[in-house]
Structure formats: C-alpha cells, structure tokens
Amino acid sequence: MDAVSAVLRQRAREAEPLGKVLGWSLLVHVGLTVLLAVVPASWLGARLAEEPAVVMQISLGGAVGPRDGGLSTLGGRPVQQVQPVETKKAIEAVRPPAAKAPEMVERTRAAPKKQTATAKVEAKDPRSRTPTKGAEVQAGSAVAQTAGRGQGFGLSAGGGGTGGYLDVANFCCPDYLATMVDLITRHWSSKQGADGTTLMKFVIERDGRLTNIQVERSSGTPAFDYYSQRALSLTRQLPPLPAAYTGERLTVHLNFDYVR
C-alpha cells in the first residue's frame, strides 16, 4: 500500500462520535413531548368550551335598537291614531274640450235607465254588511314621546331596547328573565345623580347561582361599575334555570342605565 492510501485511510478513521449527542437529542425530544402534554390546551390555541359562542343575540327589551333618545323602554307604548282614509282617484286622460252643440238644435234627451234586477237582489241580501269608509280609529305602530323613562332594563313591548341580550339563539322562557330582572332591581336604583350606562356580563348556572360577574363595558364612572357589580353580587341566587332550557348555563349581558 502506498503512502497516500495510508494517509487517506488514517484520515477516514477519525469520525465524529454520534452516540453521546444521540442521547442528548432523545432527552430533549422526550422533554418537549412531555411539555406538550402537560401544557394547558388553551396555550396551544384550543378554545375551551366554557361559554357557548354567540349565535344570535336576543334582546331583553325588544330589538336592540339605537339609543332611545328620551323614549324609554317602558314609556314607549303603542298609541292609537287616526288612519287616513284611502281615496281612489281615477286618472283621467287629457282630452280636448268637447265640441259644443249648436244652440238651434234641440237637445236630445237620454232615455231613463231601467233599474236592473240584480241591484234589487243585492239590496235584499240580509247577510251583507254595509261597507264603511271614513275616519276610523285603528291601532298604530308609532311611538309617542311620553317623556317617561324606564328602569334601564325590563321587558317592554316596544321602543328601542337598551336592556341587554343573551348568548343563546333561542331562550325559551321570558318569564324567567322577568323574574331575573325583578330580583336584580331589588338591590339597585337607577337614580345616582349622573348619567351613564354599565354593561355587565354574568352567567346563571343551572342551579340559579350568579357567577363570573364582570364589567363588560364600563360606564366611565368606576362608582357605577362597582354599584352594578354590587347589585349582581347581592342578588347572588336566582331560581334554577327553567327545565325547558337545556343549556348548562346562561350568559346574560345586561345594561344598567343611570340617570340624574
């Protein structure tokens, strides 16, 4: 064997050992896997199924509308108003004035019309009602300015709702919500010497406990937020959720309106 081959063979024999590093690599991989298993699922981007996603919002006081601007949820009642009478006007085509007959010619008289038999039959029909037309009072849908003001929340039939909404698509039982509002307002008064609205969010558990009470949108006045929170905390216990509602819990968003 020549000298060059000997050198090459000698060089080829020196290689980096892999064994020790392999052990370290295995250790790191196992560590990472364990870490991945231990880490809470929310860190990896999974959403915990704590609250149902908002599918649809149901307002407690009518449809969620613009701010009421003086119309209150309780004050906005349907009033009666006069319905304008519908009159039909026939549209006439524009025609040239009829030619006047000359004076000398004797006027022809139209023969009197004979009354038809059908008209008499109609008059005699005892079942027909006499058609009425004219000024008549009917229920309208306009909202009147009553200068009244609701409590800020509540169940009302009309007006721009500013009450609150639920996180479920179809909540079965409005009675339950009425009870809820009633119980909460026992610990609360809207007259606080300043204007403002706090949107609170809380969860009603199956057994009626109020949990997870939090300020969703602050009024800007910490005292109001605290007062709203206090009202919910004092309420603490509602009747259990109605059996017709199958969800485990009910998330409610409720406005607390404060007035001077």
Partner: protein, 227 residues
C-alpha cells in the same frame, strides 16, 4: 393532548414513535455536524496561516496532528506523502550531498502529486458529507410517514363513526384530531431536516472550493521548488 395520544390506535402510536426516532437522530446529526463544521472553520483558518508562513513542508507537517479536523490537513498529508515517496527514490537524493543547487531533489511526476491531492479531496468531501444524507432522507420520508398515520387514523375514525351510527361533531372530531397529530409530527421532523440539509450541503460546497484552491496552491509550490 395527553388524552388524544393516549386513546390512539397502535398503528398511530407506532407512526409517532418512528417519527420521534427520526427526529432524534436527525437532530443529533445536526448538532454533531454543526459542531464539527465550526471546528473545521477554525482549524482551516489556522492551518492556512501556518501553511503560508512556513518555510518548509516539514514545519507544516508538525502542526497537522493538532489541526486534524481541517480537510486541508488531509490533503496536505496526502500530497506530502506523495512528494516524499517520489523524492526518496529520486537519484539526486540518493547520490549528491544535499544543500547544493546541483543536487537539488526533483520530482518525477507533478501529475502524480495532483492525483494524490484529488484522491484526498474526494475522501475529505465524503468525510464532511457523512451522515448528512440522513437528513435528506428524513426530510423526504417523514411527511409521508405522518400522512400514513393520519390516513390510517381517519380510516379508523370513520369506522367507529359508522359503528356508532352518529355524525355528531363530538363523535367525529376527536378521531380526526388524533389522526392529524401524525401529520403534525411528520412536519415537525421534516422541516428542520430540510433546512439543515441545505445549510450543511452549502457549507460542504464552500469547503470543496477551498480544497480545490489549496490543491492548486500546493501544486504551485511543489512545481516551483522541486522541478
């Protein structure tokens, strides 16, 4: 996460274990190679400095043992061995007294030195590239292994859905989520392998050009001094 893996079928588990092994070996190779290449960089720079500063090849040879990681050392040793072999058998070295211009040793064949350098060069490139090919294998195979695990998992998920007779999301989703872990693991193994395979092969190419450069330099010096 724990629950997903714990209820996986044996095939899915096997796929995950295989992928883990691939990843372990690939990362070990990456670590070893990066460390080795860093050493190569450092020692090559030192060797070049010594080589250009030295007056005699024998001076250079004395530092070779301490700079063994550099591929240029291998080439130098091979070229020097060939030079020695030729000079030992040349008539000038045998008869005349050394030191005089007339008795200066001469090379029989410069081409033989060139060939020796070429042999050393390819051997050194082989040595540098050793185990890097495993990274290429990992990069191309592991996504497929992961995909296999996923397909198998989805198959069994649908079988169990059929058995339960329900298409409720809570029945369908866990099986598919469990199946998708295999694809994720495959990609997890493959992506670093692709990156470091490209990185390491590019560096080997750079070393190869450095070695070519060194071969030409060595030949020049040999030609100047021994012909």
């Amino acid at each position: 996460m724990v629950g997903l893996v714990a209820q996986a079928s044996p095939i899915s588990l096997a796929v995950l274990v295989i992928l883990l092994l691939f990843s372990v070996v690939a990362w070990a190779i990456i670590a070893v190679k990066l460390a080795a290449f860093r050493k190569v960089d450092r020692q090559t720079a030192q060797f070049i400095q010594v080589f250009r500063g030295a007056a005699k090849f024998s001076d250079v040879q004395s530092v070779c043992a301490s700079l063994a990681a550099s591929p240029l050392v291998g080439m130098f040793l091979a070229g020097y061995a060939e030079l020695n072999a030729q000079l030992r058998h040349s008539p000038a070295a045998g008869s005349g007294s050394p030191g005089t211009a007339a008795s200066r040793p001469t090379l029989k064949s410069l081409a033989a030195v060139d060939r020796a350098l070429l042999r050393a060069s390819s051997a050194e490139v082989n040595k540098l590239e050793k185990r890097v090919t495993f990274l290429a294998t990992t990069a191309s195979i592991t996504p497929f292994i992961g995909l296999f695990g996923t397909v198998w998992g989805i198959m069994s998920a649908f079988t169990s859905i059929g058995a339960q007779g329900s298409t409720d999301l809570s029945v369908v989703a866990p099986g598919i989520a469990e199946a998708l872990i295999a694809t994720a693991a495959g990609l997890f193994a493959a992506i670093p392998a692709v990156y470091f395979y490209n990185h390491l092969t590019t560096r080997v190419k750079v070393y190869a050009t450095e070695m070519d450069d060194f071969a030409l330099e060595f030949l020049n010096i040999s030609e100047r001094n021994f012909t």
